[in-house]
Amino acid sequence: MEVVFKNVTKRYGKTVAVENFNLTIESGALHFLLGPSGCGKTTTLRMLAGLETVTQGQILFDGKDVTKSPAAERGIGMVFQNYALWPHMTVLKNIEYGLKLRGLSKEALNERVNEVLQITQLVRFADRLPGQLSGGQQQRVALARALAIRPNVLLLDEPLSNLDAKLRHEMRDNICRIHKQTGITTVYVTHDQKEALSMGTNISVMHSGSLIQTAPPRDLYNEPRSPFVAGFIGETNLIAGSFAGSDNKVVGGLHSVNTDLGLIQTTRKIGHFKVGDKVMVSIRPEAIELALTSTQSDVNCYDVTLNYLTYLGESEQLQLSRGDTLIKATLFNATTHRLTDGDGVRIHFPEHAALILPPDDQLGAGT
């Protein structure tokens, strides 16, 4: 089922929770709504579920307007952050509930229940009460309950946030597996970018009630459209500066930015800038390397001071500074140097590694 948001806005009194939200979720996708707490992602999910009214705009299921339909009529399955398992019903009763509402025959009902119990590996817990289950088991019951009705859309609201790290990884795999098995259009809300990057077919990043960018995980990481996305998805160095012009003789163009670090040259930019426009430059820490040999050109080479170094085994994290500008760098295979805190260092990054972005205050216009 394809889900479309058309100019959806949600207001509580004067407070805007979600503004002018436009999104198409493809049928069969595992689509993520990602953003920090309070960005409106849960509100968006709840509007999709029909648990919140829509102030303006439309929500379409396969082209059919469901904006005014109550939750009960949308055919969705939802997993709540706190699971919302009914404590007075056994696992079996919890799962059967939705099916009974659909008036399934006894055989069909049993077949379905067994199916989801197997998918979620809960068969031997069927007669327990939710209170007698562990967090991970409860989570699977919530999932099983939602899946049993074969929903048009499966909605997951921070489903893993109450689990410990190990269980979380396990459940990620489970959800991915079940999604592949069932092919249900799934909308997954989380604030954990790793969850989104590792699982999603598509990710929508939200911020302050607005949709900032929707893209597959790789594109989102490599081509963030804004400093916010760049910063939220993975780690990055964001350096403010002013646009200094483009050299179009170079194939694809070579763009320059004046920053406190010095002139940064790059082949990549998002948007059109005039000379003097304020811009942000995003450089991923892993793109930065030490310029140990003098053979390299001076382009994108800077003298900085090492504040401190964190050794992590397979990598090292460096915190560097030049004046007020702080730079993070992650070095792999960096066994050749012997730097200590306070040393002067020369760093370098390739021309394709930096990305020029419009500053965040110009957001919204671009999206």
Partner: protein, 446 residues
């Protein structure tokens, strides 16, 4: 399938609801005649009269009669109730007879025009005197007639008076002496017709000013004003108060139960009255003919002897002795020598002549006046009275705290405007201020 299941479940609910509703809303159907009586009379009266009347009716009219007996608590509650019924349906209250509650109650019903004229048969009329002991049995309009009589007196606890070294009371004045401080208990006349009549009797017997002195001193002595005239009896029995004002048969029943060595009852000679306890047929009585027959029955010799004879006597009560006084002269002749209360009010002298209509006319004003001066300001009055007693109860002091804000003749003028509730409450506030000022300056008039 699901729909079938839920449907049958719904059906079950619906049928259960319907049958329950049927259970709740169906009134029993009765084939013969019926009669609805509202009465503050005790259960014992009901228990005697309902079977007796039903049997009499069956014999005389060859029809069954179903008597519904309604009681809302006391005479006051019953009056309020029929007023509420008439307010909802002005033509009829759905009730035929109002029986008992004292003359004031029936005067109240009559003045609100909620009763119809009675039809008494000529032979019965001959057996009924116009007045007994100075009180008329009937009002001028003939809407009510007394079916029993009661006298008012003082009920007292003999051992308690002995312990307190207080002489037994003989008349109203006894209760107004300083010896009785904190030893008596009274009833709020705004809520009790009995108390209202007694206040009136005391004012009548002693005169307005002297009467107020008596009432004020008695109230100053009183521990409390109760809401019902039966509560004071219990307070005397429990040893909380030594004496109270009471109706004869209440007091006699208690004496009969606990013994004449423990409790006493006295009628202040020449200063009390005989009051009738009437019956009225209510306006638009749904069973008027049966109602007439009922009135005829309770006034007949047959109906009247039940009041006076002992339990088990021929023509007497079957379950419990009632020990009341009847009105039918022939009934006295028929029970000579066999009556529980040997008193024959037709022959005994010494009762005050009592004008019920006059009392009824000013009753509301007088009740409010006494309410403001004595009941609502009771705390202040008690303090003032204590001070006056401490100074030796000088006549001037007593006079000063007993002053009424209006004269007896003004009562009648005020009574005409008393239905105006704003006017009434303005007066009440004025009187409250009067009482407060009067008691605050008690003892200072030296």
């Amino acid at each position: 399938m699901k729909s079938n299941r839920s449907f049958s479940a719904q059906k079950k609910w619906i049928s259960a609801t319907l049958s329950l509703a049927a259970l709740m809303f169906t009134a029993p159907v009765h084939a013969g005649d019926s009669l609805t009586i509202i009465s503050p009379h005790r259960k014992s009266i009901q228990n005697e009269y309902v079977p007796a009347f039903t049997a009499w009716y069956k014999e005389k009219y060859k029809t069954d009669v179903l008597v519904d007996w309604i009681d809302q608590g006391g005479s006051n509650d019953d009056v309020k109730f029929i007023k509420a019924k008439f307010a909802a349906t002005p033509k009829t209250s759905g009730i035929d007879i109002f029986w008992g509650g004292g003359t004031t109650t029936h005067a109240e019903i009559a003045s609100a025009k909620l009763s119809d004229k009675l039809n008494l048969s000529a032979p019965l009329k001959k057996q009924l005197p116009k007045a007994i002991g100075g009180s008329n049995l009937s009002n001028d309009e003939g809407t009510y007639i007394s079916t029993a009589l009661s006298s008012f007196g003082i009920f007292y606890n003999i051992p308690m008076l002995a312990l307190e070294k207080t002489p037994a009371p003989t008349t109203w004045e006894s209760l107004a002496t300083a010896q009785y401080k904190d030893k008596i208990i009274l009833t709020d006349s705004r809520k009790s017709g009995t108390a209202s009549v007694m206040n009136h009797v005391i004012l009548e017997s002693a005169g307005w000013e002297k009467g107020w002195e008596l009432l004020t001193a008695m109230s100053g002595n009183a521990r409390q004003f109760t809401a019902s005239s039966s509560d004071v009896i219990k307070a005397v029995v429990a040893g909380d108060a030594a004496a109270t004002l009471a109706i004869d048969f209440y007091a006699l029943a208690k004496i009969g139960d606990l013994g004449a060595d423990k409790l006493g009852f006295v009628l202040p000679t020449g200063k009390t009255i005989i009051e009738g306890d009437p019956v009225s047929i209510l306006k638009g009585a749904p069973h008027r003919q049966v109602a007439d027959r009922f009135v005829e029955y309770i006034l007949s010799v047959e109906g009247q002897t039940i009041l006076m004879l002992k339990k088990g006597d021929v023509g007497g009560p079957k379950i419990e002795t009632l020990a009341r006084l009847a009105v039918n002269s022939d009934a006295y002749k028929a029970t000579e020598g066999k009556r529980v209360n040997p008193l024959n009010p037709n022959t005994v002298k010494g009762f005050l002549k009592y004008d019920t209509d006059k009392q009824a006319a000013v009753r509301h004003v007088l009740d409010d006046l006494i309410g403001t001066q004595l009941v609502d300001s009771h705390k202040e009055l008690r303090a003032a009275w204590s001070k006056v007693i401490k100074d030796g109860a000088k006549p001037a002091d007593v006079k000063s705290i007993s002053k009424a804000p209006v004269t007896a003749s003004e009562l009648t003028t005020l009574a005409a405007k008393w239905d105006n509730a704003v006017f009434r409450n303005e007066k009440i506030n004025e009187w409250v201020k009067f009482a407060q000022a009067k008691y605050a300056s008690a003892g200072k008039a030296k």
